[in-house]
C-alpha cells in the first residue's frame, strides 16, 4: 500500500514540479539552484526527475539553455523562452482552476455532488 501511495504521490509531484520550475525559471537558474529553491519550498526533487523534465521543456520550446563557463566550473543555465513566457500566465490560470477544483472535491463541497445524488434517486 505504501509503495502505491509513493507512486501516486510521485505522479502528483511531477506535475507540480513542472509548473513550479516554469514559474521559477522566469529568472536564469542552473539545475542545482532550481533543486535548492524547490526544496526550500517543500518540493524535494531528485536529479532523475528534474533533468529529464528540463530537457523535455527545452525540447518543447518552453525553455532555453546556455552554458556559462566563466565561473569555477561550467554551469548550464535555464530560462523561459519567449514561448514559455507567453504560456506561463495561461498555465498559472489553469493551475489555479485545477487546484481550486481538486480542493473543493477533497473538501466535499463540489457543485456536482447534489445532482449526482439526485440522479441516483431517480434511477431507483
Amino acid at each position: 500500500m505504501s509503495s502505491l501511495f509513493e507512486k501516486i504521490g510521485a505522479e502528483v509531484k511531477r506535475g507540480l514540479v513542472q509548473i513550479a520550475a516554469l514559474s521559477l525559471l522566469r529568472r536564469r537558474l542552473y539545475g542545482y539552484q532550481l533543486v535548492k529553491i524547490l526544496a526550500a519550498h517543500g518540493l524535494e526533487t531528485e536529479e532523475g526527475t528534474l533533468y529529464p523534465l528540463l530537457r523535455r521543456l527545452e525540447t518543447q520550446g518552453l525553455l532555453t539553455s546556455e552554458w556559462d563557463t566563466n565561473g569555477a566550473r561550467p554551469r548550464k543555465y535555464y530560462v523561459l523562452s519567449g514561448m514559455g513566457l507567453a504560456a506561463l500566465p495561461r498555465l498559472q490560470t489553469a493551475w489555479h482552476d485545477v487546484a481550486g477544483a481538486v480542493s473543493s472535491i477533497l473538501d466535499g463541497d463540489a457543485p456536482g455532488e447534489a445532482p449526482v445524488a439526485a440522479d441516483l434517486e431517480d434511477e431507483r
Partner: protein, 329 residues
C-alpha cells in the same frame, strides 16, 4: 574540474553514461551538468564541515543508482553503447581470428574438434571460395553473437538480478562493497550446506518425495575453486570498504579472479556439469536431451564469464604493475 583516476565521481558518471541513450554530444552535455551538480552538492557539504571523501560518498549515495539516473535522464539506451563499440569490434576480431585458426586446424586434421560444448567443424570444401566464405561468415556470426551477449546482455541481466555487474573497468562501488560482501557470504552459505538440496530434482513416489541429486562431476570438481573465489571476493569487498583502492584490494581481486578462472575452466572442460542420469526414471526419455541442454547452457555461460573474468584479471594485473613504486593514496 579535473578528474582523477579512481575518482568515485568519475566512476559514478561512467556508470550513469553506460545506461544513457541518445547521441554522444547530448550525453556529454548531460554528464557535464550532472558532474557540476555533484560538485556543487559536495562543496556545500564540505562548507558545513564534512570531510571531502565523506561528502562525496554522501552525495553519490543520496543521488542513488547511477544507472537509474542515467537511463531516466537520457532514456533509450542502445543495445551496444558507443563507448563499448570499439572494444566490441576489437574483441570480436580477436575471437574470430582464434576461432578461425581452430577451423583451419580442424580442416587440416580432417575431423571435428571438440572443446566441451564447442564443436569446431572443418570447412566442407576448402578449395571452394564460396564454402570458405560461408564458413567464415558462420564463424563470424557466432563470435559476434557471443560478444554481443557479453557486452550487452550480461550486464543488463546482472543488473536485473542484482548481481555484481561484470565490468571490464576497474570499478568497485564503495556503496556496494559491504552489501556485496554480505551477498557473496549468502551465496557461499547456500552453495555448501544447501547444495544437495538446491541442485536436486524432487520426484513423488510411493515412499513419498524422493530427492535425486543433479550435481555432476564437473560441478563437484569445481567446488573447491568456487569457494576460494567466493572467499577471496568477500575479502576483497571488505578490504575495499576499509582501505579503498590499494594494492591489497587489487591483489585480492586478482586472486579471486584467478580462482574464478580455475573454477570456470573446470566447468567448461567438463562434459557433465549436471548429471541427470539419476533422474532418468522420473523424466523418461527426455532426461538425456534435457541434460545435454542444461550442460550446454552451463558451459556457454561459464565460457562467457571466463572471458569477462580474464579481461578483469588482466586489468587488475596491469593496475598493480602501474602502482609499483607509487605511494599508496
Amino acid at each position: 574540474m579535473t578528474r582523477q583516476v579512481g575518482d568515485p565521481v568519475e566512476r559514478w558518471l561512467d556508470e550513469a553514461a553506460q545506461a544513457m541513450g541518445g547521441d554522444a554530444e547530448r550525453r556529454r552535455d548531460v554528464l557535464l551538468e550532472l558532474e557540476s551538480t555533484i560538485h556543487d552538492r559536495v562543496d556545500e557539504r564540505v562548507r558545513r564541515g564534512e570531510a571531502r571523501d565523506a561528502a562525496v560518498d554522501g552525495v553519490l549515495g543520496s543521488l542513488g543508482d547511477p544507472e537509474e539516473i542515467g537511463s531516466s535522464v537520457m532514456p533509450g539506451r542502445p543495445l551496444l553503447d558507443a563507448k563499448r563499440t570499439r572494444s566490441f569490434i576489437l574483441r570480436t576480431a580477436i575471437l574470430f581470428a582464434a576461432h578461425f585458426l581452430l577451423v583451419i586446424g580442424a580442416t587440416v586434421a580432417g575431423r571435428e574438434l571438440s572443446l566441451s560444448v564447442l564443436r569446431i567443424r572443418p570447412i566442407a570444401d576448402p578449395r571452394s571460395f564460396l564454402s570458405l566464405l560461408a564458413h567464415a561468415l558462420e564463424t563470424l556470426c557466432f563470435d559476434a553473437g557471443l560478444m554481443l551477449v557479453i557486452h550487452a546482455a550480461l550486464p543488463r541481466f546482472a543488473r536485473f538480478v542484482r548481481l555484481p555487474r561484470p565490468s571490464l573497468a576497474v570499478t568497485i562501488d564503495p556503496r556496494r562493497t559491504l552489501e556485496g560482501a554480505f551477498f557473496l557470504a549468502l551465496v557461499a552459505v547456500a552453495v555448501n550446506p544447501l547444495r544437495d538440496r538446491l541442485l536436486a530434482l524432487y520426484v513423488p513416489s510411493a515412499d513419498g518425495v524422493v530427492r535425486v541429486p543433479l550435481a555432476g562431476p564437473g560441478l563437484l570438481d569445481s567446488l573447491l575453486f568456487l569457494n576460494l573465489w567466493l572467499g577471496l571476493a568477500i575479502a576483497r569487498d571488505l578490504a575495499y570498504a576499509r582501505f579503498r583502492e590499494r594494492r591489497l584490494t587489487l591483489a585480492l581481486d586478482l586472486a579471486s579472479c584467478a580462482a574464478g578462472l580455475f573454477c570456470l575452466l573446470r566447468i567448461v572442460a567438463s562434459e557433465r556439469v549436471l548429471d541427470l542420469a539419476g533422474a532418468q526414471a522420473a523424466l523418461g526419455p527426455s532426461a538425456d536431451s534435457l541434460g545435454a541442454l542444461m550442460n550446454a547452457t552451463f558451459s556457454l555461460l561459464a565460457l562467457a564469464t571466463t572471458a569477462l573474468l580474464a579481461a578483469r584479471a588482466a586489468r587488475r594485473a596491469f593496475r598493480l604493475v602501474m602502482m609499483r613504486g607509487t605511494r599508496p593514496a
